[in-house]
Every structure is written in C-alpha cells, then in structure tokens.
C-alpha cells in the first residue's frame, strides 16, 4: 500500500523523469553501499598495521608499468592498498557528514522552532547568537577547537576520538543554517489558521510546535540537509587536508588526499587522484540531488523539465 502511494506521488514521477536525479541518486547509493560493505569487500584491512608491508610502497595502479596485480589502484607510501583505504575512508567521510548534519539539524531545528514560535526577546537573543556563530567561518572555529583539543589531550587520545570530535565541531559550527530556515518557516506557518485551531483545541505550546508546525517545515529542511551533508564532508576533508581531521592511521578521504599530496611531484599521482575523484563525484551527486529536491519542493521556482 505504501509502495502504491510512493508510485503515484509527484516526487516519484519527477524522479523517474529526471535523468540527472536518477544518476546522482544511483551514484550516491553505490558509494554508500560500497563503503558500508568495505569490511567484507575490501581486499585488505587498512587499519591493521600487520596487513601491509613497507616494501610494497608506491606501487602504481593496474595498467601502468611495474603494477602489481594484488593492488588494483596501487598503494600509498606506507604500502597500503589504495582501493581498501578509499573504501574505508569514504565510509568515514560519509559517517562524519551524516552525523554532523544530524547534530546541526537537532540544534538548529530546536533553536529555530522556539525562536520563531515564541518570538520577542527569546527570538532576538537566539538569532543574535546564531549571527555571532555565523560570523566565524566554520573552518576557523574548527581549526581553533581541534588544534586546542589536539594540543591538550595529546595525539594518541585524539586518534581514538577523532570522529566524535570532528562531528561535534562541524555540527556546532553550522547549526545557524537550520535555525534560520526553520525560524523563517515557523514565522509563516504560525499565522496559519491550523495553529489557531490547535490552540482552540487546547493543545500545549510544545505539542503545537513539535506535532503541528515542525512537520510543515520539512520540505525546506530536506533540501538544505542534502547540501549540508555535502558541506560537512567537504569541511571534514579540508580539516583533514590541513592535518586537523582524521589521523593517518584511520584516514578519511581528506587525509588520503593530504597523504598523497606530498608525493604528487615525485610521480605518485594515484595516491591523491583516486580519493579526490571519489570526493568530487560524491559531493557533485549530493549537490545535484539537492538541486532536484529544491526544484521539486519549491513550486515557485521555474524549471525547464
């Protein structure tokens, strides 16, 4: 029955008639699936120091001279299999992107709902906090916090909790995006009669906010969520590239790019090229998906197809 509903919906129609959306969804799905299955399908475990040999370092990918059949995409400077490392690293990048976005959404939605619904001083206060937060760029906040954190707890400890800290930092730095969107929606929604009707029924403010107003703000939230996941992944990659993100022992796509960057002029282009390619494809697909969603959910915008 739900399948029927989905099949007859406008979203399904638009999706099946939009090749860009279908291809990018497919790409995102494949990348997610492969990285989720990494422990099963990857030929080596890049996190296990015993599985690679420094003698295998900088072997080029198949097709080049001196290639080794064991390593399809070649190896990095430590002799790690690039294919396995990329599979694991993509998983870490996506994980950070999704959880950082969830955290942003949680903080931002809560702040936005309360600011928008109650208005007045609470609204001014919360939105000024958001403005202050936005006046620091995400990277700046992240660099400061991560540098201080690494310096105080030491690298060993940091390596164990890197994912958690990065999620926290990116989540906290970007919540105003959500807060602003939600607040704008709430301001429009709370003037509608169904909110009056809910008050007349005798519902409590919290019930009205979460049960009645929140679901009506979902469409713009869906759109910014896809973009925010992509942004969070990029931010993480940038941080890792600067050496403040994921440690080399558990690399994300960003740390892999940084790893290979040192060797790019010595001819070992593959260490940087393959992770970069995956990162670009993943971000591009997510953004295209976001574009499609925005076109679909915003009937005011003119679209050609």
């Amino acid at each position: 029955m739900y399948w029927q509903r989905i099949k007859s919906s406008a979203a399904y129609y638009s999706f099946t008639h939009n090749r860009v959306a279908m291809v990018s969804a497919l790409v995102v799905f494949i990348i997610c699936a492969l990285s989720a299955l990494a422990p099963i399908i990857a030929p080596y475990d890049p996190w296990d120091l015993t599985q690679f040999d420094i003698m295998d370092s900088e072997i080029p990918p198949i097709g080049a001279e001196q290639a080794d059949e064991r390593f399809m995409l070649g190896t990095d400077a430590m002799g790690r299999d690039m294919l396995s490392t990329i599979l694991y690293g993509t998983g870490i990048s996506i994980l950070i992107g999704v959880f950082a976005t969830l955290l942003q959404a949680f903080i931002g939605i809560t702040v936005g709902l309360f600011a928008g619904y109650f208005g007045g001083r609470l609204d001014s206060f919360l939105m000024r906090v958001a403005d202050v937060q936005l006046s620091f760029t995400t990277l700046m906040v992240a660099i400061v916090i991560l540098a201080v954190f690494q310096a105080t707890v030491g690298l060993d400890f940091y390596e164990d909790y890197a994912i958690l800290v990065i999620v926290l930092v990116i989540g906290v730095a970007e919540w105003p995006q959500y807060a602003r969107t939600v607040r704008a929606c709430v301001l429009a929604e709370k003037e509608k009669e169904y909110v009056d009707a809910a008050r007349v029924i005798g519902l409590k403010p919290l019930q009205i906010i979460y049960r009645h107003i929140l679901p009506n703000t979902f469409s713009p939230l869906l759109v910014i969520s896809t973009v925010q996941v992509a942004n969070a992944i990029i931010t993480e990659a940038a941080l890792s590239f600067l050496g403040l993100g994921m440690p080399v022992t558990k690399p994300s796509l960003g740390s892999l790019i940084r790893n290979g960057f040192e060797f790019i002029f010595s001819g070992s282009w593959w260490i940087t090229a393959f992770p970069s390619l995956i990162l670009i494809i993943l971000i591009l697909s997510l953004n295209l998906l976001g574009d499609w969603l925005r076109d679909l959910l915003n009937p005011k915008m003119y679209s050609n197809d």
């Binding site: 009669e193 169904y194 009056d196 009707a197 809910a198 029924i201 005798g202 409590k204 019930q207 979902f218």
Partner: protein, 323 residues
C-alpha cells in the same frame, strides 16, 4: 445563572499609532442549548469577541475590562493550564476555511485522536472509536477509512464536516462557529448549516454563530447581536430583529439582502464604509452613513437601551418601534 455571561468586555490593541478599541463594552448571555448569532461587517469585532471568550487574544491585543463568566468562572482570569482545559473541551470553535484549519500534514485520525488525548486520559483505540462515532454524527460516509486520509484528499464540504466533528469530540457545552460557511459554495452552505443546527439541537449544545449573512443567522439562531465598529448596536430575539429592526444599521443590513430586491433593480446598500477603529466619529459611530441622522446623532453617543425584549443603541429606536 446563564451558561456563558459576557459582561462589559473591552479589548484594546496597542499599536504604534495608538490604542485601538476593538471591542467596546460588549455584554451578552448564552443559556444552555441556546443559539446566538453575532452579525456585522468585516472589522466590526465579531471574531475578536469570539477569541476573547476563549482568552486567545494575542500580543498587541489585551482584554482590559470586563468578565467572561463560564459556569460562573471568569475565563479571562484563568491561568494557561486551566484555560486549556476549557478550550476544545467545554467550548470549541469552528473556523471559516476548513482548508486552513486542518493541518495539511497530519491525517484526520491523528488530529482527532490528539484532540481527545489532550483532554482525556484514554487509549488510542478508544479515541479512534469516539472519532468514528463523531464522523458518523456529521454524516461522513465510510468514516473508518477517513481516519487515514489527509485533509487534501477530502472535498471542501467534507472537510468542514470533519472540522465540526472535531469540535464535537469532547461533547462541548458551547460551539463558537466563526463564519463556518463563508468558504463553501452555496449548496453545501445550506447542508452544513442544517447539520450544525440539528447537531446543536440533538446534543443540546449552545452555539455562537458569527457571520455577516443575516439570512444564515435567521435560519439557525434564536437570538441576534448586531455589532458595528466594536460595539453592540442591537440585540434581541431573532424573529423580532429580522421583522422589525429598530436600529437603522440593522435595517440597512436587512434591506441589503438580495432577497429584498425586486428583480431588475439595483441591490440596496448602506452607503459608505465602516469607520476605521482608530477614528470612530463623535456621537453615534454610524451617523455619517445613517439616512435618519439628526443634529443630536453627531454630538451625543446613544446608549444601549432596553426596548421590551431587546436592546438598541439609537436615539430614535422608540420611533421605529412605534411605526
């Protein structure tokens, strides 16, 4: 003791340009099972009166004077928790546009269950049973399947029936209907009105019907209160007011009904527009538009005076009565 007694109610909206008196000294009573119509032009203060009863006047507005006594308790002085227990439980409200009053993203069933659970400690299954029973009471076919539908899947008339069913959910003592048929087409208007009338009689529910359509009021209500520029100008039993209005404004409203016009002639209308609440004219608020106006009308404001069973605020009501 009357079920609902509104005494000398004043509502003031504080705006940048100054205070605006949206409701000026409004008083009326409603007995158990009685049906009252509040009539007036847009901006006369009808809806504000309704919101004031439920203490739902929001920010720039405030009840500055008067009482709303429901079963002897003053609703204007209750705290949030206590007033929530009255809203939707003992006094419920129906709005103009059923497309807007139902939440577009929640199913009918969800919205009904939520309303019941807000006031009573009952299980979801029990709440659904009551919901189905009420949907049947408003003559909605295949009520069970409606519970899983969204508002946009129903027609306008059907939606207003759902809204009425929601208003009936907790067997209220009073239903306030704020222009319940304005957004519907004419054939459905009549059906909905008849339904509302029958339900009120059947369940012995008091009704406050707010409308600008005297035709609608005359079919449904027992009493009428006519408002102009925030104040009551005439009040009394429906039949007397419809047949022999003693305030020129009410007379004008009745003459403006299309049924009063001879085919081929222009429709009658009251010339001019209602004054803005920010500059109500001196004396009688209606005098610039009144065809019977005299010197006294622009100087002295007429008080609401008792004439047998009704009240009227006009210097010449006695003369109209004697005619």
């Amino acid at each position: 003791m009357a079920l609902l007694e509104v005494k000398n109610l004043d509502v003031i909206f504080k705006l940048r340009t100054g205070d605006v008196k949206a409701i000026d000294n409004v008083s009326f009573t409603l007995e158990k099972g009685e049906r009252l119509g509040i009539v007036g032009e847009s901006g006369a203060g009808k809806s504000v009166t309704a919101f004031a009863i439920l203490n739902l006047i929001s920010k720039p507005g405030k009840i500055t004077n008067g009482q709303v006594l429901f079963e002897g308790r003053d609703l204007a002085s209750l705290d949030d928790e206590q007033i929530r227990d009255i809203r939707g439980n003992q006094i419920s409200m129906i709005f103009q546009d059923p497309m807007m009053t139902l939440n577009p993203v929640l199913t009918i069933g969800n919205q009904m269950v939520e309303c019941l659970q807000a006031h009573r400690n009952i299980s979801k299954e029990k709440a659904k049973e009551i919901a189905i029973e009420k949907l049947k009471a408003v003559q909605i076919p295949s009520a069970e399947t409606r519970l899983d539908q969204y508002p946009h899947e129903l027609s306008g008339g059907m939606r207003q029936r759902v809204v009425i069913a929601i208003a009936l959910l907790s067997d209220p003592a009073i239903i306030i209907a704020d222009e319940p048929t304005t957004a519907l087409d004419v054939t459905i208007q009549a059906e909905i009105l008849e339904l509302l009338l029958n339900l009120c009689k059947e369940f012995h529910v008091g009704l406050i019907l707010i409308t600008h359509d005297l035709g609608v009021v005359s079919q449904v209500t027992e009493k009428i209160m006519v408002m102009y520029a925030g104040a009551v100008i005439e009040q009394g039993p429906t039949e007397q007011i419809i047949h022999q209005p003693i305030h020129p404004y009410t007379q004008g409203l009745i003459n403006a009904l299309p049924q009063q016009t001879i085919p081929g002639q222009r429709l009658n209308q009251i010339k001019g527009v209602m004054p803005s609440l920010q500059d109500i004219p001196q004396g009688c608020a209606f005098h610039p538009r009144c065809e019977y106006r005299q010197e006294v009308c622009s100087q002295q404001r007429p008080t609401l005076t008792q004439y047998a069973e009704r009240l009227s605020a006009c210097h010449f009501s006695q003369q109209f009565l004697d005619k």
